[in-house]
Amino acid sequence: MGEVTTFFGLSLQIWLVIIMMIGLFYMLTRTRVPAEVSFLGAVTFLLAMGVISEHDLLEAFGSEAILVTGAFYIVLAGLMTTGVLYWLSKHLLGEPSTYSKAIVKLMAPAALLSAMIGCLEVTHLFTDLVKIWARKLAIAPSKLLMPLSYAATLGGMCTLLGHTSNLVVAGLYVEQTGQALNLFAPLIPGLVCTVVGIALLAFLRNKIPPRESPEVSFEETSDYTVELLVPTDNDAVMQTIDEAGLRNVSGGSLIEIVRFDKEVISPVPADEYIFGGDRLIYSGQINELLELKNTHGLVAADHHVYSINEIDNNRKMRTAYVNFGSDLIGTRMCESDFEKRSDMVLVAVARQGKRVDEQPRQVALQAGDTLLLECPSKRNTDLEMTYKRTLTFFDSQFVPQLGLRTVISASILILMFMLSSFQVVPLITSTMLAAGAMLIFGCCRMDSITKYIDLDFLLMLGAMMVFSTAITKTGLMTMISNPILKLCAENPYIILIVMCFLASVVSELFSNLSAAAVFFPIMYHQAVILGCNPLTFTIALMTSITISYATPVGSVTHMHIYGPGGFKFTDFLHLGTWMHLILLAVNLITVIIVFPLH
């Protein structure tokens, strides 16, 4: 056996993995390179450097986590298309008499559904509905959206399908042991955490901040900035703004004119002439200002317009918020080709329910900003799918048709769960059978399922698995694991608590998928060294990394409600930290009782 060259006590391969980890951290936190591209780049680097083999790569991308997630996307497509999820979400909420009852009424079914179809899907599904419900109950949407996010995460802890990170941990466990985990393996700790979590949230409900919903702000607030363009053939050209009646208008006033040569006229004198191509910046009530399109022939446009006839009369105003990780973050519409590419025009921007005191198209956008966009009249669902990573529209266009196929797809889902939970077939088989059945029974069409399959996410998942293999193969896990073992005096309880705490912190700061990929090989190794049951460590890790509530970065569901709820980044911190610590303790106690260490 050849001698391994070491540098500062570590092998070259370990150094390469460390360099890759630092590079990856930099890419994810300091650049706008999409996560899946960063991970695939890291995987290519490891492959080129010989740290991992082609076999490792193929094994990771063909792993159970990837296949189950991929097949489950088809099952979800069937459930969405046939309206099962639409029907469920619509009929599960009632009209509770108090806010605390509303929390329970929302959280219990959301958690149950999340265990069945996944936390993110439930959050997506319920968001619009909860906002309408909040209006009906006269409660700020944020007061119900936050419980929704908690419920989805808590419910998702109960099954392998509830969180993608559960599938990743389960997949890594299969790789190590050759034994597949049952669909309901994390059920008991998940259920205990869900019950405690719902009770805790109902108790701490006053800590949930009431935030104004951004799209309601667009409708009701009297101080927003709207940008409209004067077409060349407009009658107001060569008139003064007073003569044209464009200075003090119903609902607001003109605060700025931006000329074709970027000259900004502010404040605008009454005798200022209007030129074709002028961009008029108004401050005031949005709906009334937008009436200027009808009354004065102004248009919302990203490019010069010679005649109002060039603009499609049927274009619609829609509100959307900027997603976390969106490529629009930090960009200004006036410098970007986004509007041209998407055929959407930015009309106004709101940030946390308040006016942004700049020309809308000059605003450097931030995650969570609410945009008022003029959108094409047709292809609305296509628009949503194409830009789903960039923007989330408040008014989803999807209205499914309920019928026989609704019953069929619901039956397929139940059957899938039964086959897997009674261990008639492994989870991967039941999911693939369900996906096939959805297609055979016409619950979703082959040409439309691509809309539901998140290929970027599957790529990232595969890269995570490879990343985990690299940590194991190079011996990096031993290097990290052994000092912790010594530090904790090889006490398995202390090690379990310390590792789960660290994993949940990593999950808060990055993502639960990263935490799963890094911590699984280390914790599995520790369990084996200590002669403990590796399943205890596996389930403890699986459930701990989902309890990341203190930041919207750590929780995908928090991230989803951030924009619609009009939240601030710090809104999650106070309540989230307490929930994180209490639920982590409850979870670890339950796991140790249900899955004894020896």
Binding site: F260, E263, F275
Partner: protein
């Protein structure tokens, strides 16, 4: 930027030379004041050597047009280059002035 005013056969002609940008617009506005104050009904703006016009420059052109129209006169804009022609088309000025 240089502006010369001359009178030929009862017609007042302003000859522009250079770049009529925001900075130059203040002086140019003073230079063309005779066109606004005069009684002549025929005004010609010769742009043969005008390289560029900003929105401030267009504002001067509009002021001239407004005053001449008030005395029922006409303003002819001559010899504009392609770039200025595009600006005129975009702002709608090509429909307001007689362009030759």
């Amino acid at each position: 930027m240089n502006t010369t005013i001359k009178e030929e056969e009862g017609k007042l002609i302003a000859v522009f030379n250079g770049r009529l940008d925001t900075l130059a617009a203040v002086q140019t506005a003073k230079d063309v004041q005779p066109l606004i104050d005069a009684d002549n009904t025929e005004i010609e703006l010769d742009c043969q050597d005008l390289e560029y016009i900003s929105s401030s420059g267009l504002r001067i052109f509009i002021s001239i047009l407004k005053s001449v129209k008030a005395r029922k006169g006409t303003v002819v804009v001559k010899n504009i280059n392609d770039e200025i022609k595009k600006v005129f088309e975009m702002t709608g000025f090509n429909k307001l002035f007689i362009i030759k």
